[in-house]
């Protein structure tokens, strides 16, 4: 092991008053791996994402990113380090045209350093990014106000915002929720390509079948605790996971 892991998270804990939302969660992730985070509703998945991305400050524990301690950093600095995230509830800028939504992240220090370019270029880059995530070429959709888009498009816009930052890690919080099967099917090859380019993925997901097409390994949370870790096949065979989350009769083919 000459190379250090891209993420080394140890004993990460978050209390909200008396409730322990995330309880001493530890895991490591190598560069280019795709990690699935699964668990029942309220098991602390989204809180874990918020802790890693700095939107919530951890009560205790440590987050090492490429060997650097980023625990407690402000969220925009963590993004600048190359960790982009999407939100479970899509957060577009409602009264701004769709392609201009992407000009905001493209205006960030990170994107400007990596991409360069002036005013006109950013619109151009934004349109191309939208094409990448499956907005139809030559349609009116990229020029509409973001508030008028259906949910599936908003989720893809979230993904496009992540990609606009040319991140090293992309953290997707329930990207597939609210998307139709055909929309998911059109996104999967893109996720594969992102992975092939060496980008590390962390995906919180309820749609296990689709998730396991992308994920190399998975961790399972229940009541804030990590109850299992391993390859998707191992995880779904774990007895504790079956009872806690999947229900003992459900069989998921990985």
């Amino acid at each position: 092991m000459s190379q250090q892991p891209i993420f080394a998270i140890s004993d990460l804990t978050k209390n909200f008053g008396g409730i322990v939302a995330v309880d001493q969660v530890s895991f490591t992730l190598e560069k280019g791996e795709a990690l699935g985070v699964i668990g029942p509703n309220g098991s602390g998945k989204s809180t874990l994402i918020n802790l890693i991305t700095g939107f919530i400050k951890p009560s205790s524990g440590q987050i090492l990113y490429q060997g650097k301690n980023i625990t407690g950093w402000p969220p925009h600095k963590i993004v600048t380090m190359g960790i982009a995230r999407s939100f479970q509830m899509a957060k577009p800028f409602y009264d701004i045209p769709v392609y201009k939504n992407l000009i905001i992240p493209l205006f960030s220090n990170r994107a400007r350093k990596l991409k360069g370019g002036g005013y006109g270029d950013r619109s151009e880059v934004a349109i191309h990014l939208l094409e990448d995530v499956g907005f139809e070429r030559d349609s009116q959709v990229p020029y509409k106000e973001a508030g008028s888009l259906p949910h599936g498009y908003l989720k893809r816009l979230e993904l496009a915002r992540c990609l606009s930052l040319e991140p090293d890690v992309i953290i997707l919080d329930e990207l597939f929720s609210g998307m139709s099967m055909s929309e998911i099917a059109s996104i999967l090859p893109l996720l594969d390509r992102i992975k092939e380019e060496g980008t590390t993925l962390i995906m919180v997901e309820h749609r296990l079948r689709e998730l396991f097409k992308v994920a190399d390994k998975a961790i399972v949370l229940n009541f804030g605790k990590k109850i299992a870790e391993g390859t998707p096949a191992e995880v779904v065979e774990n007895e504790e996971v079956k009872t806690a989350y999947l229900g003992s009769e459900v069989v998921v083919s990985a």
Partner: protein
Amino acid sequence: MTKTGYRKERIDRGIKVRTDDIFAIGSFKEISYVAMPRFLVILLLIIFPLLSSVTGIYWQNVMLITCTIALLAISWDMLASVGLLSLGQAMFFGAGAYVTGYLNHNLGLSPLLSIPLATVLGALLCTLLLFPIMRLRGIYFGLITFAIPLLMTRIIEATKILGGTEGLSGLTPLPGLTLELYIIIAVTLICVFGFRRMFDTDYGLVLKAIRNNDRAVIAGGIDIQWYKTQAVFVAALPATFAGAFLTHHYQIVGMPAFALEYSILPLTAVIIGGARSFSGAMLGAFILVPISELLRAFSTLRIVVYCLVLLVFAIGLPEGIFNFVQRKYHQIERLVPMGEVKK
């Protein structure tokens, strides 16, 4: 019961669509469609100070106050554009006023230096003062900005600094009303057109996005705290200038510089004129201030009439006069049948 419904459809006028693309402007008609509204406003403002024999000195002075309130309203609109609700524009006004008063009265700087210095230093002071509360949103930010001007008057009253209750008097006068008017009109126009242009750039887009959804801006790798700081500084500039300028006009600065009306009038002007365009803020001030001067004839009933005007605008035309007129200028409305709808 079924009934054929109609819904209102808004369509851009052909000329609007053609002139949206700068390369399509080829005829005088199209150029004037774009330039005429701006040109008319500028022309009227240039002519007005020359008409002092027609209007009388009184209305020339009203114009000066109007521009002052317009600058404060533009400043309010700028703060609102990044999601900061200000209920204390008097803070900026007073800061500009007292800094120029101190520079002129105590250090003997000429207005040529003290006004620009007070504009920048006053804006810096206000930005520093507001820095700790910039992360607050909505009414919480508003309440604190409301309290600051009240606090300042009490501090000045209690500690007797900066002339205490008597204020600083005997400041250097400005060279004459007509020149004063041209200066403040020029500054107002520069602020309106400058800010409008700024919000067309990518930088302005980021500011707009902060009001829209600040967490998504953070997720875009942008330090919103830093952007808000810049926005507050830029927003403070027109207001501190207004304070500094009017101080030299009156040749005295005192506690009325933090008066409530400097907080309320700009806010009202934006309600009447319409937010988020800066032109609306300016238009609102140009309607509100002359009306409130005309209402002086009603003496105590003035407040009642004044409140009625406000009510009518807040309920009848919440988008503001400017946005309404702009929509009518650019778009036509027509009724289209929706087909059979259940009622």
